[in-house]
């Protein structure tokens, strides 16, 4: 029996888009409301970098699908 990863390329692209959206919105909220974000003890810069990384990852998948549609 040949085992394969059950998620297709478009599934991963969709997952990246959803994750990037959540992370980017959260990161933006953390930066725009310092009085609230001060209560969260996380590295905001690193969080933003991860969010941007996810967003870029999604854009890369879009670019791959544009140039290799099949």
């Amino acid at each position: 029996m040949l085992m394969s990863f059950p998620l297709s390329f478009s599934d991963i692209s969709f997952w990246l888009a959803a994750t990037a959206l959540i992370l980017l919105i959260t990161s933006e909220l953390l930066y725009s409301m310092p009085e609230i974000s001060g209560r969260f003890i996380i590295d905001k810069t690193r969080f933003r970098l991860v969010a941007i990384g996810c967003g870029l990852g999604f854009l890369v998948t879009v670019a791959i699908r544009l140039f290799q549609p099949f």
């Binding site: 085992m3 394969s4 990863f5 059950p6 998620l7 599934d11 991963i12 997952w15 994750t19 930066y31 310092p34 009085e35 001060g38 003890i41 996380i42 590295d43 690193r46 969080f47 991860v50």
Partner: protein, 267 residues
């Protein structure tokens, strides 16, 4: 007897490892069972587990600890001021830029120093005295001390990755308050206004507000400013390339609003 252990971040580490393990297991089982749902759950759990590990909580200390550790330096400065009967002001001397070449014996000119003068019209210490890192100036006309905000200044420079000597004063007045508020969380709100050779710093609910309280009655705070006001003075001196003097300060009775006025020396 049980010893006390630090528990900072232990819970978040456990959660992230739990997420990671269950995520990886879900991914492996999704391949076996060819289940898309399980794969998506596994992907999410693995990702968030890794993210929680990456975003470890920062080491935090209580704000009052910062104030309590700073007060000893101010009490020492107060003793110096009382001992020499100084009535002057704190003059923040502009340091040389880091990238400028200076011979070994003049390297001391690159450090931020503040000159506490005996009288208001005292002449400034000589370059030789600053370069040698002297404490007492000629004829005991004042003392040269390291500003209480020099540590904050170093932190700002490291995090912002900027050279303040290459920045204009207008730019500084925009960048610095935002950084003090959002990145360092040293005050709820900070405003820095430039008006000719006068600069006004307005702080709302700063961490060091207790230093300004009448209970302490610290002379050194009005001369040097609190660590935030001192860091701003150091930055102003560095950016303008001139000596900056703290003219006066005004604190609201509860200490929630503090105004500090600086004067940038001309010429």
């Amino acid at each position: 007897m049980k010893t006390k252990r630090r528990v900072d971040g232990v819970a978040s580490n456990k959660i992230s490892i739990l997420f990671l393990i269950s995520g990886i297991l879900a991914l492996v089982f999704s391949i076996y069972s060819i289940s898309q749902i399980l794969a998506l759950i596994g992907l999410g759990l693995t990702f968030w587990g890794a993210l929680f590990l990456l975003l470890k909580p920062l080491k935090l200390v209580e704000g009052s600890l910062l104030y309590n550790s700073a007060i000893s330096a101010y009490l020492t400065t107060d003793r110096i001021i009382d001992e020499f009967k100084y009535k002057g002001k704190g003059h923040y001397i502009s340091p040389y830029p880091e990238d400028v070449y200076l011979p070994e014996y003049l390297k001391g000119l690159k450090a931020s120093v503040v000159f506490i003068s005996k009288k208001n019209d005292n002449e400034m210490p000589s370059i030789d005295e600053i370069a040698k890192g002297k404490f007492l100036s000629k004829n005991k006309e004042g003392v040269l001390v390291t500003p209480p905000g020099s540590g904050i200044l170093t932190q700002i420079e490291e995090k912002l990755k900027v050279d303040f000597t290459k920045m204009s004063l207008n730019e500084l007045c925009e960048v610095l308050p935002i950084f003090i508020m959002q990145n360092l969380n040293l005050a709820k709100e900070v405003e820095l206004k430039l008006n000719g050779d006068q600069v006004q710093l307005k702080m709302f609910d700063p961490l060091y507000k207790n230093l300004y309280s009448l209970r302490n009655n610290l002379k050194s705070v009005s001369v040097l400013g609190c660590p935030i006001a001192s860091a701003v003075a150091c930055t102003l001196a560095k950016t303008s390339g001139r000596t900056v003097t703290i003219q006066k300060h005004q604190a609201s009775p509860a200490g929630s609003m503090i105004d500090v006025w600086y004067r940038i020396a001309q010429g």
